[in-house]
């Protein structure tokens, strides 16, 4: 069976790749496109370390088949900073020590940004439920939740209507 040719957009860049029907988007990102920021923690959609957005929707890339990326807009952690300017969430995570080992951090950042793009005024409970699909074993979630709430507050204060820069 010949490989499938996929044309897609990843972090704003037109991208093409060849893949098998049963390869996941995560596989292709990591093994073929050199985008190893998305991590495989479980391969079954239970940990969120592979989180990306596809056409604006937060998904686990381990549960998206690579051919599905055809014609889609994919955003990964590598596209979150603007050149050398970190996204406010990225900055805040470092400032507030919202990471220890850092393996879950890309997933949390992608998921948090997706939240703030929809809701710039989430309650602590809303943040926790939105991020329930992102497992962290190091931090106990406390500083992650605080960081997201702080960024939301700062963005509201700055009059930002949506978190997309």
């Amino acid at each position: 069976m010949a490989k499938i040719h996929v044309t897609t957009t990843i972090n704003g860049a037109p991208t093409e790749f060849l893949c098998d029907a049963n390869q996941t988007l995560l596989d292709v990102l990591r093994d073929q496109l050199g985008l190893t920021g998305s991590k495989e923690g479980c391969g079954s959609g239970d940990c969120g370390a592979c989180s990306v957005t596809v056409n604006g929707r937060l998904v686990c890339s381990c549960l998206v088949l690579a051919p599905e990326a055809e014609g889609a807009k994919v955003e990964t952690i590598e596209g979150m900073a603007d050149g050398d300017k970190l996204h406010p969430l990225q900055k805040k995570f470092v400032e507030m020590a919202a990471l220890q080992c850092g393996i879950c951090t890309p997933g949390f950042l992608v998921a948090s940004r997706a939240l703030l793009e929809r809701n710039l005024n989430p309650t602590e409970t809303e943040v926790r439920y939105w991020l329930a699909g992102n497992l962290c074993r190091c931090t106990g979630y406390d500083k992650i939740v605080s960081a997201v709430l702080d960024v939301a507050a700062e963005m509201r204060a700055a009059g930002v209507k949506e978190a997309a820069q």
């Binding site: 069976m1 490989k3 499938i4 098998d20 029907a21 049963n22 996941t24 391969g43 079954s44 959609g45 239970d46 969120g48 989180s51 596809v54 929707r57 937060l58 998904v59 686990c60 381990c62 549960l63 998206v64 088949l65 051919p67 599905e68 055809e70 998921a111 997706a114 439920y129 939105w130 991020l131 329930a132 699909g133 992102n134």
Partner: protein, 293 residues
């Protein structure tokens, strides 16, 4: 290199043709949140993966005569964003929105959840309580099945070769109706339901005039518990009525002991959830909005 093929169908007919041609080795890809997990685990080895997400009617929500038609592959997140659906069927929506994490919600669909036919599927008890109809299309044409008859056992549906579920129809809603879905899970998220209970009520004043109860994760398929409904209809949903309906749920259970719960526990919780879900549904009829969590 692999022998597995991937095809994105553009119409329902094309999807059916591909399924039929695959002769049992075809698998529909909606959100993939069950299919990909099963492929990785080796429990499913498709020959052809048929992506239906490019078929507009399968990924959209339309209003019908007073009711709704939900495309079978519509992502759960999109269902949760549909204001009118949320207002008319808060129980169905919350049930679908409980399938997995936010990431899973970005992909998982009610059709996929139903066709995966897990006894513990979150959407199904609420769909059963809602009296949803499954719209099927196949080589021999279209047909409809009440959702409580659709699954025949764990992992088994009544679909014939080449048939696919195109959409789910939610019927028109009499005034004074609402619904609710509750599940028992050990954590607050990310778990498969130990028990799931959907209750749909129609009230006239403070009297219940119609009810349907769907119970999940307590039998090989989701149960339509008619005895529980009977115990509620004609009552004011006072404690005695709720207790009777709860007992009917516990009596209807045929659960198993497994890594998620015991027979004893599931039987008890079936009753507990009935009472709580019925109370929430009633509150919603009365305009008191309650979040399930």
């Amino acid at each position: 290199m692999t022998d597995i093929q991937y095809k994105a169908a553009k119409t329902v007919r094309e999807a059916c043709t591909l399924m039929a041609a695959a002769d049992g080795k075809g698998r529909i890809l909606a959100g993939g949140t069950d299919l990909l997990v099963q492929m990785k685990a080796g429990t499913v080895a498709p020959g052809v993966i048929i992506d239906v997400k490019k078929i507009p009617e399968m990924v959209s929500i339309a209003k019908t005569k007073g009711g709704f038609r939900i495309g079978a592959a519509t992502p759960a997140a999109a269902i949760g964003e549909h204001e009118e659906l949320c207002k008319a069927w808060p129980g169905v929506v919350e049930a679908i929105n409980l399938i997995g994490s936010t990431q899973v919600q970005g992909r998982a669909s009610a059709g996929g959840n139903l066709c995966n036919a897990s006894p513990a599927a979150d959407s199904v008890p609420a769909l059963v309580a809602a009296g949803a109809i499954v719209n099927i299309q196949g080589p021999s044409g279209k047909r409809q099945v009440p959702v409580e008859q659709f699954n025949t056992g764990p992992g088994r549906t009544s679909l014939a070769n080449g048939e696919i579920v195109v959409s789910l129809t939610l019927p028109a809603r009499p005034k004074g109706s609402s619904d609710a879905y509750l599940r028992l899970i050990p954590r607050t998220e990310m778990d498969i339901a130990v028990v799931g209970c959907g209750v749909s009520l129609t009230m006239k004043g403070d009297t219940c005039v119609a009810a349907r109860v769907g119970l999940g994760a307590v039998a090989p398929t989701v149960l339509l518990v008619e005895d529980a409904a009977k115990a509620l209809v004609g009552t004011k949903l006072e404690d005695a009525a709720l207790d009777a309906a709860a007992e009917a749920c516990s009596a209807a259970c045929r659960p198993i002991d497994d890594k998620r719960g015991t027979i004893r526990y599931r039987t008890k919780i079936a009753g507990v959830l009935l009472k709580r879900a019925a109370a929430i549904a009633r509150d919603r009829v009365n305009g008191i909005s309650t979040q399930a969590h």
